[in-house]
């Protein structure tokens, strides 16, 4: 009885999780610029795989397996926002632009490193910003 109920719950969880993953992939394909795509991927992607791992923890018959699945969820929830934040910050600092339809950009301008394909890097500092990166 309990096992059957857990099976039904796990079925609902994996369908919801994979629907989240599919919606995230659709958002990655359809959204206009890097930052909105990142919003789709990092949130829906981590929730989707977290739900599926939770379903695995529900139907597994032994304690250690369930515990490993829970540990994987915790680890994934810990690392996914970190990597998304780092990627967004790096690409914003380098100067990949927001979609023109964006209405608000509160991030201050940053010092940008530019280089041609075959020349070493030079710092181009927008006016009004002290560069603290070199030296």
């Amino acid at each position: 009885m309990i096992a059957a109920t857990l099976s039904i719950l796990a079925g609902l969880l994996i369908v919801a999780g994979s629907a989240f993953a599919a919606v995230a992939a659709f958002g990655i394909l359809r959204l206009p610029d890097l930052y909105t795509r990142m919003h789709a991927a990092s949130k829906a992607g981590s929730v989707g795989s977290g739900m599926m791992l939770l379903a695995l923890a529900l139907v597994s018959h032994s304690g250690p397996e369930a515990l490993r699945a829970i540990a994987a969820i915790a680890f994934f929830l810990l690392t996914a926002p970190l990597s998304a934040h780092l990627l967004a910050k790096a690409s914003y600092a380098v100067g990949y632009r927001l979609w023109p339809g964006s209405v608000l950009d509160e991030m201050p301008r940053m010092a940008v490193t530019t280089r041609e394909s075959d020349t070493p890097a030079t710092d181009t500092v927008p006016p009004g910003i002290e560069s603290g990166r070199r030296g």
Binding site: G11, V15, G17, S18, A21, M38, R109, V112, A121, T124
Partner: protein, 127 residues
């Protein structure tokens, strides 16, 4: 059909449905990785592929009972995280190259809406 039989049947249907959805997610993400106009788009697609693969491992673990693969899911998550961090550092260190001449799909407008707000990032190379 009594309740436990219905639960088994329901779980089977859910497993098939979620495998189809995950395959769709894989395909759409691969399309973005191939088309992705800039390097960060592709890195984001690879990160997404990692998380979808972890979900796939969980579904396969429920389907076949081989829950040994959960360890592989943890390792895959670690590798994906480190790869994304390394790629982010690489993007930061590489700076803007002349190679991606801003076909980000967003430069098709006549005037630059960021210039009006004094928000333009001088890249030296573009335009």
């Amino acid at each position: 059909m009594n309740y436990p039989d219905f639960a088994e049947f329901f779980l089977d249907v859910c497993l098939d449905l979620s495998l189809v959805l995950l395959g769709l997610a894989f395909l759409l993400t691969v399309v973005r990785i191939i088309r992705g106009p800039t390097l960060p788009d592709r890195v984001l697609g690879l990160d997404m592929l990692t998380s979808v693969a972890i979900g796939f491992i969980a579904v396969i673990g429920i389907d076949t009972g081989f829950t040994l693969y959960v360890d592989l899911a943890i390792a895959l998550g670690l590798v994906g995280f480190l790869a994304t961090v390394a790629f982010a550092r690489f993007i930061l260190a590489r700076g803007k190259t002349g190679d991606d001449t801003e076909r980000q799909g967003v430069t098709e407008m006549d005037d630059d809406p960021f210039a009006a707000r004094g928000n333009t990032v001088e890249t030296g190379k573009s335009r």
